[in-house]
Symmetry: C2
DNA sequence: CTCATCATGTAAGGAGTTACATGATTGG
DNA sequence: CCAATCATGTAACTCCTTACATGATGAG
């Protein structure tokens, strides 16, 4: 249900085609709300049917066409209404902590691999989030720049600060997950003291 | 896809009916993987069709029947195979951080309400996780006690430690979210210095 | 002319949500 | 005998995933 609001958030700063939208998406909102193009195109149609956006057909070359979507008044209102409404939280479905709770059923080597993969996963996320933070500070994120261009002066600080703040939260979460998994590796070493392998190296590195 | 492994994790400690399973579920694995009964019953059937569990029909009173499910060898193998396999991470879909990134579009009062709801949500989670931790330490979680009863001595410490560790991670995450949202409230106060209201009270409370 | 990129999808299926539906048993 | 709880689902729908499908344009 949040997909359409994620799309509106981007379209609100200016009309885009489905294709461009998808590109922008993966570089901005995509960090907090993933969506593949096979989901974006149909959603745009539904949003059009619901009157939240309006298509404008443009020619491209001799015969090519592309459709850029504008946010309608109804779309703007829907976005603001969502902002005012209480957020509906999703139920927890956390495969990593599910597995962690039953790791005694795994070989120590597999437990280690699990935590290492968890670290790798979150380090890759962390890198993205920190990259975004730098782009925000350096005003080098194209979406943010476009947004600021259509934002009244008084709102500019807030626009930047809230974005910063959101990504700071994501960075902290990623660091928390990494820290937890590192302690997980230590735990495996502690629970299987006789199994050597790369265990010692791991323990000293942290 | 993890649902069936969550179910196997519980059934592995002893046969249960769908009804009992559902009860146990909400008090144990349910903390990391939510599932309503309308999802559990069909999944049990599919698992039966796939040969992972076996139904045993029992009479109950004069005419009532109930079906208890046993894990088959194939089921046990499937669980262990899952434990060995790399975990597939879900794509991010985080409505809270999505909204936070665009809060400049909200009234300050709505931004505050949003962060307060976030705090309330995670405090309720936190309470559950900390309750679980106490149950683990006091050995007062019925599922854990049943599990330990069928666990060889050498595995007992690991069983307890991994469970503890999983919940510690959840507790930290919850605390992280709460801390972030508290700083969110301070940020709102900073960005709207002229709006008073309950702002001062909030700032002092934290 | 050919390849990268622009541009827009469909189709099939699995997972999850919400709401509804029904009947037996046991304790007070 | 009545209410709580034991017991087991179905139906309709939305959301998401994975894989496939197709054709135009512009740069070299």
């Amino acid at each position: 249900m949040s997909l359409r609001y994620a799309l509106l958030a981007i379209l609100r700063v200016g009309p885009l085609s489905g294709y461009d939208l998808q590109k922008q998406f993966s570089q901005s909102v995509g960090h907090v709300w993933y969506a593949p193009d096979s989901q974006i195109y149909p959603e745009l149609r539904k949003m059009n049917a619901d009157g939240l956006i309006e298509p404008e057909e443009q020619t491209r070359g001799e015969r090519g066409t592309r459709i850029v979507y504008h946010v309608t008044d109804a779309g703007e209102q829907a976005f603001l209404a969502w902002m005012r409404s209480p957020l509906s939280y999703q139920r927890v479905r956390d495969p990593a902590h599910l597995r962690a709770a039953y790791l005694e059923a795994a070989e120590p080597a597999d437990a280690r691999r699990f935590f290492e993969a968890h670290i790798a996963e979150w380090e890759s996320e962390l890198e993205q989030f920190e990259g975004e933070l730098h782009h925000i500070d350096a005003l080098s994120n194209p979406m943010l720049v476009r947004r600021l261009a259509v934002t009244p002066d008084a709102e500019r600080e807030r626009t930047i600060e809230y974005k910063r703040f959101a990504y700071e939260g994501l960075v902290e979460r990623a660091k928390g997950e990494i820290g937890w998994a590192r302690r997980g590796l230590e735990l495996v070493d502690r629970l299987y003291p006789d199994v050597d392998a790369n265990a010692d190296a791991d323990a000293e590195a942290s």
